[in-house]
Symmetry: C2
DNA sequence: GTCTATATTGCGATAGAC
DNA sequence: GTCTATCGCAATATAGAC
């Protein structure tokens, strides 16, 4: 009478230590990022993995540590997809567009959305988790973009005082009300076409602003 | 042996129905916005109000309904502070600056931060709460700004295709990584001086972009 | 006060590696 | 066989909705 059928081979095969650890992390991700830290139950994780509760405690120590491990891992994995581009021979707009597309896709991915929700909910109570998330996630992305902007600045292609701040503004535009609505579950994540359109508009504003050109 | 000392007069005074309701909402705000929906306990709210246990259930029905009521109320109250400005005789930059200052102050207020955390955490599980928050909060703010932008557009002061989208971008810039860090508890809310500086920079980018002027 | 959920721990049984 | 990781299950304890 198994409620949710665990992986069929989970019970009969014996997995090596590291393998079980990975399996637990994977299952825990799904549960924690969907239910939130407080809403998640160790029991549910076990059911998914097919092991015993004891395994979790011997591997991680407790619920908190499991959550921390999971966030650190997921933050790094997800954000690796928003790396600074090779900008040889590219213009500012093209570079921003490419970065924007990557970043927005990441922002719309289910894992990222779950991370967002879970970490924001628990940030005040688990500062180390919040720290790990920010540094490996949004922080790294904005630093990467800032570096790129600095190169353009050195070439005289753009005119900014603070490249870090500028990068954060651009990313802020990508994380606007539409993103908030997706985070809140009020609308579906953007399609690839909608992402392209959104990024296009953001690049336009970021490059030239909204002021009417002197006619 | 009261742990947290309830309001001294809470116990001895008998309050009218509406008054009690307000008192409960007030206490619930403090608890829920600090601990999050799942972390909050009805017991704690009762202790703070000092009333009888049944009061909450007869007034609101249950934990969920209390949370919903509280979010609806707080969203409206807080966001009322970011109303569309009277822009008679003002320029675009000045208007954006004023709006930006108001909005950023709201964004940095403890109540707003608590709302953010709690609603984002629960959004997927309580769609009506998410909806109420967004409509009364961020949604209303961006609509207000969009209307103002449209007036400027009509005058030819700015050049945009979609005023709603543009408004969301500006607000997005205000809700950038710095705001995220505050939400996560990784840094203290901005001081008034820092807010002014931040808004100034955002207005600059939004108005003219970062492209180097053709020399 | 009742009842349910759930984190945590203890401990003996067991399966595979060597 | 020994060893180590894991399992399965029971017991404890606490919290919290109603």
């Amino acid at each position: 009478m198994a409620k949710a059928q665990p992986n069929a081979d989970a019970r009969r095969q014996r997995r090596g230590g590291a393998e079980l650890r990975t399996a637990i992390l994977q299952a825990a991700s799904e549960i924690f990022l969907e239910e939130g830290y407080q809403g998640a139950s160790i029991e549910a994780v076990i059911e998914k993995v097919g092991g015993s509760k004891r395994a979790i405690y011997s591997h991680f120590g407790g619920k908190k540590e499991l959550f921390a491990a999971l966030v650190a891992e997921a933050s790094s994995t997800v954000i690796g997809q928003t790396s600074p581009e090779n900008i040889e021979g590219k213009g500012v707009s093209d570079t921003l567009r490419m970065f924007g597309l990557q970043a927005t896709r990441v922002l719309m991915a289910p894992t990222t959305l779950g991370l967002y929700r879970a970490v924001i909910a628990e940030g005040m109570r688990q500062p180390d988790v919040a720290q790990a998330f920010f540094e490996n996630g949004p922080g790294r992305a904005s630093k990467g973009l800032a570096q790129v902007l600095e190169q353009f600045q050195a070439r005289g292609a753009i005119s900014i005082k603070d490249s870090q701040r500028a990068a954060e503004r651009f990313i802020g535009m990508l994380r606007d009300d539409v993103h908030l609505q997706v985070v809140l579950g009020l609308r579906a994540p953007l399609s690839e076409a909608e992402i392209a359109e959104s990024v296009e508009q953001a690049v336009g504003v970021f490059m030239h602003g909204i002021a009417a050109p002197p006619s």
